[in-house]
């Protein structure tokens, strides 16, 4: 009976690596990493680009009322639509502002966002002051800081009068 000699285990191969094998392994490893990186980059560009690109700054004049709606010297709350609001934005697509008529055709519009950390400020007509409920910021009627932590006066929106319509220029939320 002749003995069948089985091939030796691959341990022999591992103890004496030959250079072509090593080169091949290195190449295949590098190929995998390169293809993986390229694939990830190709996908990452549109994904990250989409996340970062959702902001489209645009400026639109929005009508907030007729000249005759506003008495000289009174400060009232007006609201206007964001520029190009998304259809599902619902009630959040509005922005509010405090509008004061100071002359025949002169208006000042204040953003309602407190310059400290963004809470909405309330206008107190009898006290002639804006007060913020969050950290105690107070502003004088001209928007300058009266007391508390706000670092800057209230931001103002550009206002103009077109024929008999009062219009405010929509602006991004004031962030420093």
């Amino acid at each position: 009976m002749s003995e069948v000699r089985l091939p030796q285990a691959s341990a022999e191969v591992a103890t004496t690596p030959c250079q072509p094998e090593e080169d091949r392994r290195k190449f295949l490893t590098r190929l995998s990493i390169s293809l993986g990186s390229i694939g990830a980059a190709v996908v990452a560009i549109p994904v990250v680009g989409f996340l970062l690109g959702l902001r489209k700054p645009s400026f639109v004049w929005r009508t907030v009322g007729k000249l005759s709606d506003f008495g000289i010297g009174s400060t009232v709350k007006v609201s206007f639509l964001d520029p190009s609001p998304l259809p599902w934005a619902g009630v959040t697509a509005q922005t509010a502002a405090w509008l004061r008529r100071v002359g025949d055709h002169q208006f000042i519009a204040f953003s309602v966002d407190c310059t400290h950390l963004g809470c909405p400020v309330r206008w107190l007509p009898d006290a002639n002051l804006f007060m913020c409920p969050c950290h105690g910021g107070v502003f004088y009627s001209n928007g300058t800081v009266a007391s508390g932590p706000p670092p800057r006066p209230l931001t103002q929106y550009p206002v103009r009068v077109q024929d008999t319509e009062v219009q405010i220029l929509t602006s991004p939320l004031p962030i420093t």
Binding site: S58, G90, T92, D126, L173
Partner: protein, 474 residues
């Protein structure tokens, strides 16, 4: 029964699952003796996290993350009896997550279990702590009521304090020029997909490490950790007095976890979910946004620090805290574990707990906020219905003084109590103060007519303690 056993045998044969699962369940754990119950906090956090996932999925099946509709879907969910309970469990579960992960971190810190070989346990845990706080913040926001809406604005403003990229970062958070259609979806994706994905990653690694490194034994004073000898010593300890985790030790985790879940469910059923505020209409100016209780302390700290330090604290504060968490196991990775040999650990924990409790209470009262719901002073307090004192009382309310000052219990607490101002100040002093204002008080120069000023001063001068009944004059 035999049928079941046969099915199981087949399943186990083709999956090999018991060979993998049983050693995990029975892995040896050191005898914790008197500290045994301290070790249940990590698993309790995990149980509540699973609770959050389950209730979260239930909520997500009805919640519509549309800026215009989210509020209505929440009204719908809260209107059904079970939906109300699910919301309640999710809300109380969030508070439980914050409490339990904090308690777990404190326990690990005090017992020095962040030292070798468990440094990566601590680092992954620090990541999980950060993610939990982010989940808590983004979750509250998803209610998308008044408070939810304004918290996005406030978060964007805080991020805006970052130097150089602040403006860009703030608008990235808003996903636009203003908080609008794209904003809520961004936070929904973060709260439901992005952060949970990170949590699963870190949690999986964290649990693997717990098994790989073993549960730490209770520290003993005089037994410092020596990386050269610890692993061998630990294996010997397990061989001597190790108990199989299941069920000899795990029963405590089950009992405590059960109690926690029952308490959360009980609170959800009896108290119910947080009430929804008004809809997220940015033109409703009467909003008074406040963070959840676990962030109240931070809200108070930000209010009370000097104005010039604000940018540094907002940006560097959390960064510093993160750096400390990361550096702790790297610089203090060996040596004494027992807190008795590390007395500063008690001080630090006491400081943190005290700070959160103390400033949380102050944040709840928010003395710096004007009490904008104050009502005009009643006749009994004013004392008269005509004359300068009565007119002065009207001016006191109209001009907003009462929002920040108290008279006989009515009004705000931002400024000094003026109930007995007439006793301590002269008319000249009162006039000066009204005109010049103060750091936290506006100046009323140009804001009062002479008539208003004199009646206001008359009113304030009339605020005195009643004169003694017995006249001392003879």
């Amino acid at each position: 029964m035999r049928m079941l056993k046969q099915v199981w045998c087949w399943f186990d044969d083709v999956t090999g699952i018991s060979a993998w699962l049983v050693p995990i369940m029975r892995h040896p754990v050191p005898d914790a003796r008197k500290s045994a119950w301290l070790y249940v906090l990590g698993s309790a956090t995990l149980f509540v996290f699973i609770l959050q996932i389950v209730t979260g999925i239930a909520l997500a099946s009805s919640y519509v993350a549309s800026t215009g509709q989210a509020y209505n879907t929440l009204l719908f969910i809260s209107g059904t009896p079970f939906g109300r309970i699910v919301r309640g469990i999710h809300a109380f579960g969030a508070s439980a997550m914050v409490i339990l992960i904090g308690a777990h971190a404190i326990r690990v810190y005090l017992m020095g279990a962040y030292k070798y070989p468990r440094q990566m346990n601590w680092l992954t845990g620090a990541g999980l702590l950060l993610f939990t706080l982010l989940m808590a913040f983004t979750g509250q926001l998803l209610r998308w009521d008044q408070t939810g809406f304004w918290s996005v604005v406030i978060a964007a403003e805080q991020a805006g304090r970052t130097p150089v990229i602040g403006n860009w970062l703030g608008h990235f958070i808003l996903a636009g020029d203003t908080a609008g259609g794209a904003t809520l979806s961004r936070f929904f994706a973060a709260h439901v997909f992005f952060i949970p994905a990170l949590i699963f990653l870190f949690l999986g690694f964290h649990l693997y490490l717990v098994l790989h490194n073993g549960i730490s034994e209770p520290p003993k004073a005089g037994q410092p950790v020596d990386p050269r000898t610890y692993r061998v010593w630990y294996q010997e300890l397990l061989a001597h007095e190790g108990h199989p985790f299941w069920p000899d030790v795990a029963w405590r985790d089950v009992v405590f976890g059960f109690l926690v879940v029952m308490i959360i469910a009980g609170l959800a059923i009896t108290i119910g979910p947080p009430a929804l505020g008004k809809p997220p209409d940015p033109t409703i100016i009467g909003a008074s946004p406040r963070p959840e209780w676990y962030f109240l302390w931070y809200y108070a700290v930000l209010t009370l620090i000097p104005r010039w330090t604000e940018n540094y604290v907002i940006i560097l504060g959390p960064a510093l805290f993160g750096a400390v968490l990361i550096l702790l196991p790297l610089v203090a990775g060996k040596g004494e574990r027992s807190p008795l040999r590390r007395p500063w650990s008690f001080v630090i924990v006491a400081f943190i707990v005290f700070m959160i409790a103390y400033f949380g209470r102050i944040g709840k009262i928010a003395p710096w906020s004007p009490r904008l719901d104050a009502q005009p002073l009643p006749v009994e307090v004013v004392g008269t219905t005509s004359g300068p004192v009565e007119e002065g009382a009207e001016v006191f309310y109209k001009k907003g003084c009462e929002y920040c000052h108290t008279v006989s219990g009515y009004g705000g607490i931002r400024g000094p109590d003026l109930t007995y101002a007439g006793d301590r100040l002269t008319a000249a002093q009162i006039t000066t103060r009204i005109f010049s204002g103060a750091a936290n008080m506006p100046s009323y120069t140009g804001n009062l007519t002479p008539g208003e000023l004199s009646s206001l001063v008359a009113f304030l001068k009339s605020r005195r303690r009643r004169p003694p009944l017995v006249s001392t004059a003879r």
